[in-house]
Subunit: 367 residues, 2 copies
């Protein structure tokens, strides 16, 4: 029922952005195309394969544009995301996750039978042994070793441990050792290179090749060429860009393709505006910021607080005009990927005219 209502109020191509009811995220087609081209050019210039992470948009048509620009394969974080993209024709899919549990293993093998290029990662004997027990009697699965080169999330802790796990995978029925994967700490290319190169060297002594060495992350996007041990880089955020990417120096504010269109619904005091975008439109992701996004055109306005359907803006520092009740404003979110995850459809526009409305096809998938 909910989704019927949404479709009734979905805008249509040709409609104008300023007529949209709010809150609503919108994507600037030209900025997005520029982002795809710029990052692909960087990867091409350095001879790196590029594997975009689809978690940012969850829309097959956008992954299609990324691949058309030159990307080699895609990166998913969940089996169900990979299923949506396999349905859309993608074959070279790396799921950068430890897959555990009988229900997930069963679906993973079904997916592996359907497409040629499925790969997952593992960082423990537990995960590897679970995969092997399932895949031993089925089409073999390619598994990469996840390495913690400093990112502090998942991953084996040393090159020696990585090599040991790689040997474990290589010796297990049903599994093919596929290489290495890591999600590094920002600004630590040298440590990443050292870890990966040492692991490759250890494995080479045993005659084990790392077909893929997948380095990653948006924070490390333009450091990819400083890790020559890697054969590819993964990143997602760059397609839309956001405030965190501007801060990192990876793009300009005018490269941010996603805005959350919002309406000023209250001006209770001269210094306070309230918009209809709260944590259920912008999310509460701070990513190190102390406030909740950039109000385009009002550089001194500060989104100081979010409740679920309200955003409170402090205008006290504004030296120029202040937004009035009924005005529509555009917010650049701190983090674009989590905003995509809140909305069932995404509206695209060029110069303010809607070009298309895409289902966020892989949104809402539980696991």
């Amino acid at each position: 029922m909910a989704h019927d209502i949404v479709s009734e109020i979905s805008p249509k191509p040709g409609d104008r952005i300023e007529d949209l009811s709010t809150p609503r995220p919108i994507i600037d087609e030209d900025r997005m195309a520029g982002n795809i081209a710029r990052v692909q050019s960087y990867m091409d210039a350095h001879g790196l394969n590029f594997r975009p992470h689809i978690k940012t948009h969850k829309i097959p048509a956008l992954a299609g544009a990324q691949v058309a620009a030159g990307a080699k394969g895609i990166n998913c974080q969940k089996i169900t995301e990979a299923e949506v993209f396999a349905d859309a024709g993608f074959e070279d899919i790396l799921i950068t996750y430890n897959i555990i549990g009988p229900e997930k293993l069963a679906r993973l093998s079904t997916l592996n039978e359907r497409i040629g290029g499925l790969k997952v990662v593992a960082d423990s004997n537990y995960t590897v042994d679970g995969l092997s027990a399932w895949f031993a009697t089925r089409k073999p699965l390619t598994v990469l070793v996840e390495c913690d080169t400093g990112g502090g999330r998942c991953g084996v802790q040393t090159p020696e441990a990585a090599a040991a796990l790689a040997r474990h995978i290589a010796g297990k029925p049903g599994l093919i050792f596929g290489g290495l994967m890591n999600y590094p700490k920002p600004n630590s290319a040298a440590a990443t290179q050292a870890f990966l190169a040492e692991t490759i060297s250890l494995l080479k002594r045993d005659g084990i090749e790392c077909a893929i060495v997948s380095n990653g992350g948006s924070p490390s996007l333009f450091d990819a060429h400083l890790v020559p041990a890697a054969t590819e880089h993964r990143a997602g955020t760059y397609i839309y860009n956001d405030r965190s990417m501007v801060r990192a120096g990876h793009c300009r504010e005018e490269d941010c393709a996603m805005h959350i269109l919002a309406t000023v619904v209250s001006r209770p005091t001269p210094d306070r505006a309230v918009i209809d975008a709260g944590s259920k439109a912008l999310t509460s992701d701070l990513l190190g910021f102390s406030d909740h996004g950039v109000v385009v055109g009002y550089p001194e306005a500060v989104i100081t607080g979010l409740s679920e359907e309200h955003g409170v803006i402090d205008l006290s520092k504004c030296t120029g005009p202040r937004p009035e009740i009924g005005d529509k404003v555009r917010i650049i979110p701190n983090h674009t990927c989590v905003v995509s995850n809140l909305f069932d459809t995404m509206v695209f526009h060029r110069d303010g005219v809607i070009t298309r409305v895409e289902d966020v096809a892989a949104r809402g998938l539980v696991w």
Copy 2:
């Protein structure tokens, strides 16, 4: 397509919680029923009408249970939420929002024609004049004045301004003045009472009655009786409860009906566990906490960081057993309402056996 996949993997009544793939929010039926009964008893004991906010669950069947327990009407934050609940048979609906813009006004009047008890709020002449321009030629709409008694969000700033806006509503074609509404600062019942009582008194001199005086908020839930000027109280979170409600002293940890079931997918170091619940399952809402939820059964474990599909847990303070890879854990979220908004379905259980799976019918509605 996404939703077809979800339905394929939806669990069924009779399945056991421990067999669910993760991450997945689950609701304990008995705890939820206890929460509904306890808060309704408090309201009944003080002769207060209670109007639950459905934003917490977005599920008509749950609002039905709240009304069956004695609640008088429901509270929505969006027109589209109200439409879903009107479809389910609810008539007494207060939308606590300034409704602005032609598309929303058109839908609001359609809804007003369908049900008898629709009410909205306004805190400015701008909103009121927009409503009047639309409703002057249609079935009249009931409008309450939103007052800022200290909460610092929307609302007129003084009793005099509230009275003036009430008179403005009362004099406008197409509108019926319905009373007052506020969302107070926590622990400020005296200030709330003073603001509301003064406004009521000012209006009484003009012969204007406040049929509804709607006080609200989960933080102020058990202070409702300290605001005798109010005729009703609104709150949402109590039905599931969460870590913020435990901290506020409004419930015990064993009253938290929502858990996020998660699996330990990695134990990269002795002091670090990584679970498959990240910001796309728990949200980044901190609500004043410095970490991301309670790990039930591991009181010294701290969820220090979330990425989208990973939660990083610091186990260094754990004196007892530590969760191992493959273990399932239950997380009490900081804020339950925003978790509901991420999932298309919600699983309910009693003593670990699934009782039902409800569509989160009002999730994903843009405005």
